[in-house]
């Protein structure tokens, strides 16, 4: 299970990073979202991958799962969700205000070079 989990997390992170480095706003937003999924999965695994362990102390539990990472992930998900919503709206605003979906406004730069 560890190998599968880490492969999935790594693949998600790599795809996210690749997309976040693209030149247009939509891939950047999708990339940052994928990156945050990868981070959430990673956080989830930091307490160790335990199946069938007790989270609350009981007398007959043989193994315990760490409940804290789940609380951390929940916080991270909520924050990440708000940030994604904000960046989608912002990307649309960039498209509307500047008339282009380039992250760096190319027209402005070429204008500066000419002058």
């Amino acid at each position: 299970m560890e190998a599968l989990f880490s492969t999935v997390t790594g693949f998600l992170a790599a795809s996210g990073l690749y997309l976040a480095l693209r030149g247009r706003t939509f891939p950047v937003v999708v990339g940052l979202t994928l990156l945050s999924y990868a981070v959430n999965l990673f956080l989830f695994s930091t307490g160790g991958l335990t199946t069938d362990g007790a989270a609350v102390i009981s007398d007959d539990a043989a193994r315990y799962a760490d409940p804290l990472p789940q609380a951390l992930v929940l916080t991270a998900i909520v924050i990440g969700f708000a940030m994604t919503a904000f960046s989608v709206i912002l990307a649309m605003r960039v498209r509307g205000d500047l008339g282009s979906d380039q992250v760096n406004d190319q027209r402005e730069e070429s204008k500066e070079e000419k002058s």
Partner: protein
């Protein structure tokens, strides 16, 4: 009552921020009144906190009464008291300036401003690393909206860069937290400090990687050399009161570096003791050098002030990387000075640009300002102190820092710090003479400085002479703060041992 004092800097802005959400209709609610009263109260509360912290005792507030290391705590020591006090004074100046009309250019300026204050104060007070992340996000999301307050193409573009970079930064912060939690098993900073010392050798590499990743995140906030490129554009396009408040944002990064790498990875961290500082030294010097080049190249007064902030970041980080009592005390004094003065300069640049009409804040000859003697006086005061000419506070801070360097460090620090100051003198001299002297006579019935703007300027720029006059007591406080900061044992003891005897907050 006194024990609840610690939570007030977080609660007060939260409550007033929420209050301003009640009705969106701006005419009904006295938003300006609420904002001013709440920020003024915050100044009173934080001054009391500074006075409290002078006893040298480190007190904590256990939220929900969960005893550390299990619950989330807020910690008050000298450094955090100093930082929240600095924030509230800066905020009071910015809010006063915003009341002159900048707050009406978009919706709910004051509400967002208060929420950002809550995030900043929380980040300075928290004693839990994950909670630090949460407060970072609180201050960031408020800053995203504030940066775009009023709209405009420049702001949208700079805003998208700022948001995308910080989202990537947050992802890295979480990865670092995951690595540190996975290896140390705790997120309470005092507890982490103790566990780092007893670490297995085979986990050393992981913890080191996590610590470096944290440095990248804090470096992005603080704007160290390879990570500062977002700053000049974002700060130059932000509305003036927001840019003034942002002067504290880079210091949040520096505070986090100072806290984490003296407490968790400080003297008592065994194998990992002080391993970041040698790296930081070179990055800080490079930031200082490039800030000097940037300040000369700026063609807009606001960009120039943004580069002055980068010079100050370099100066502060050099102090952090020297990691002894004298440099840290010097940098704390310099931090008070530079935060207030660069905030004031952003306000001044806005006042100048408003009075010059079309020429705006660009450094070109054009129409003069309406009130040349008043604004010229403020510019002279701000320039002299931010560059570090005697007798104002900038000179004292820089002299303290230069004096604290050891012979091996002097070789690098002295020329670079003095050259970047020289670059500052040349740049500020040039832009001042262009704006005030090479100008056609100003429009005598143009816009004038309103009382609210004047109050903001006096509070922030006028802080500099006050800082010089009170240099004695302030340096006494910063000396003691540096001593306290470099003694992580005391921090851990006052948080974890009280718990063993069952004595809470």
């Amino acid at each position: 009552m006194m024990q609840h004092l610690l939570v007030l800097p977080v609660l007060l802005p939260l409550l007033s921020g929420l209050l301003m959400l009640v009705k969106r209709d701006a005419t009904r609610l006295p938003r300006r009144g609420i904002a001013l009263v709440s920020t003024a109260l915050l100044v009173v509360v934080t001054v009391i906190m500074v006075l409290e912290s002078r006893s040298g005792e480190i007190s904590y507030y256990a939220l929900g009464d969960w005893q550390p290391p299990f619950g989330i705590i807020l910690v008050l020591d000298r450094l955090s008291a100093l930082m929240v006090c600095l924030t509230s004074i800066l905020a009071l100046g910015s809010v006063a300036y915003a009341c002159a009309g900048d707050d009406r250019k978009g919706s709910n300026f004051h509400g967002l401003f208060q929420l950002q204050l809550m995030g900043i104060n929380g980040a300075f007070l928290t004693g839990d690393l994950f909670n630090l992340f949460v407060f970072f996000e609180v201050l960031l999301i408020a800053s995203y909206s504030l940066l775009m307050h009023g709209g405009g193409k420049d702001r949208t573009q700079a805003g998208f860069h700022y948001v995308a970079l910080n989202l990537a930064g947050s992802a890295m912060f979480l990865i670092a937290l995951g690595v540190l939690y996975g290896t140390l098993g705790t997120l309470n900073m005092a507890d982490m400090a103790q566990r780092v010392a007893m670490l297995d050798v085979d986990r050393l590499g992981l913890v080191e990687a996590g610590a470096f990743l944290l440095l990248v995140v804090f470096g992005l906030k603080a704007a160290i050399l390879p990570l500062y490129f977002w700053l000049p554009r974002a700060y130059a396009s932000a509305p003036a009161p927001v840019a003034a408040l942002f002067a504290i944002m880079t210091k949040v990064g520096i505070y986090a570096i100072l806290r984490v790498y003296t407490l968790i990875f400080g003297e008592s961290a065994g194998e990992l003791a002080n391993f970041v500082q040698p790296w930081l030294w070179w990055f800080a010097l490079a930031t200082l050098a490039l800030g000097g080049v940037g300040v000369l190249s700026a063609r807009d007064l606001r960009t120039q002030v943004a580069y002055l902030i980068i010079i100050s970041v370099g100066t502060l980080l050099v102090g952090v990387s020297m990691n002894r009592e004298a440099p840290i005390a010097a940098l704390l004094y310099y931090m008070i000075h530079t935060t207030l003065v660069s905030g004031g300069l952003f306000l001044l640049a806005d006042a100048i640009s408003e009075q010059r009409g079309k020429a705006g804040a660009r450094i070109v000859p054009g129409r003069g300002v309406t009130q040349p003697s008043l604004l010229g006086f403020f510019y002279f005061l701000g320039a002299v102190t931010v560059i570090g000419l005697p007798p104002l506070s900038g000179a004292i801070g820089k002299a303290l820092l230069l004096d604290s360097a050891q012979p091996g460090e002097q070789m690098w620090l002295w020329p670079l710090l003095l050259l970047s100051s020289l670059a500052g003198i040349v740049a500020m001299g040039r832009s001042g003479s262009t704006i005030f002297w090479k100008a056609k006579p100003g429009d005598s019935d143009g816009p004038r400085l309103q009382p609210a703007m004047l109050a903001g300027l006096i509070l922030l720029l006028g802080a500099s002479p006050v800082l010089s006059l009170l240099a004695g007591p302030i340096t006494e406080f910063t000396d003691a703060s540096a001593t306290q900061l470099l003694d992580p044992g005391q921090y851990a003891q006052s948080i974890l041992l009280q718990n063993a005897t069952g004595d809470g907050s």
